[in-house]
């Protein structure tokens, strides 16, 4: 069940510069684990002890996973996942 994952500029050093990579998993958590297996270090950039990092946005197709089931959101074949760092500050 490959899904396409769009990687933001700031994480591309971890994917060898690739903007789009593929990963597998039936939930977002599994996809992140699979990504971290292929691109070590990426998991830590997306997750902290409490789950998805506050200032990392992840979308499945065009829905923010925070409005779905977060890391437990089910991922279907051919879904498109987009990672975007929040644009935020003080």
């Amino acid at each position: 069940m490959p899904v396409e994952v769009r990687v933001p500029t700031i994480l591309r050093p971890l994917t060898g510069g690739a903007k789009v990579v593929t990963a597998k998993g039936e939930t977002l958590a599994a996809v992140v684990a699979d990504l971290d297996g292929s691109y070590p270090g990426i998991g830590e950039r997306l997750l902290d002890d409490s789950g998805l990092r506050r200032f990392v946005n992840v979308y499945i197709n065009d829905e923010d996973v925070r409005f779905l089931a977060g890391l437990q959101t089910e991922v279907a074949d051919q879904d498109s996942i987009t990672i975007l760092p929040a644009v935020a500050g003080g």
């Binding site: 500029t9 700031i10 200032f55 987009t82 929040a86 644009v87 935020a88 500050g89």
Partner: protein, 131 residues
């Protein structure tokens, strides 16, 4: 950017100037909503953020400038700005409205690169053409 900052004062204003990928030329002004609606914080709404990046991608553009205002402090990145800066190729423009609020008058506008927590200021020249 200054007009947007003044219009939203005392809340922080934010937005992007997009340009063709790889050119580093800020050409298309895109004011964004501050979902935090706060005098001390800004954040693009997550849905707006997704739509923005999809549009940039479709047009083969990059966020050349990411701007926001400070409404009570200087036009310099705060610790939070530095910690959250997620676009290493962008020019982070800060505008301070602390002196004039919503009124016309002199303004502070400064530009910075923020890469891996390191801030470097760069000169700003306001003109009609790119050189």
């Amino acid at each position: 950017m200054v007009a947007h900052a003044r219009a939203d004062h005392p809340d922080e204003a934010c937005g992007v100037i997009a340009g063709p990928s790889g050119t580093d030329r800020p050409e298309r002004f895109i004011p964004m909503r501050n979902a935090a609606r706060s005098p001390t914080f800004y954040e693009f709404d997550s849905g707006d953020l997704f739509a923005l990046y999809r549009e940039l991608d479709e047009r083969d553009e990059a966020p050349v400038v990411i701007y926001h205002s400070h409404t009570a402090t200087e036009a310099h990145p705060s610790r939070t700005d530095i910690a959250l800066a997620g676009e290493p190729d962008a020019h982070y423009v800060l505008i301070s409205t602390r002196e004039t609020g919503t009124e016309d008058g002199p303004f502070e506008l400064r530009s910075f690169r923020i890469v891996d927590g390191v801030v470097s200021e760069e000169p700003v020249r306001i003109g009609g053409t790119f050189e």
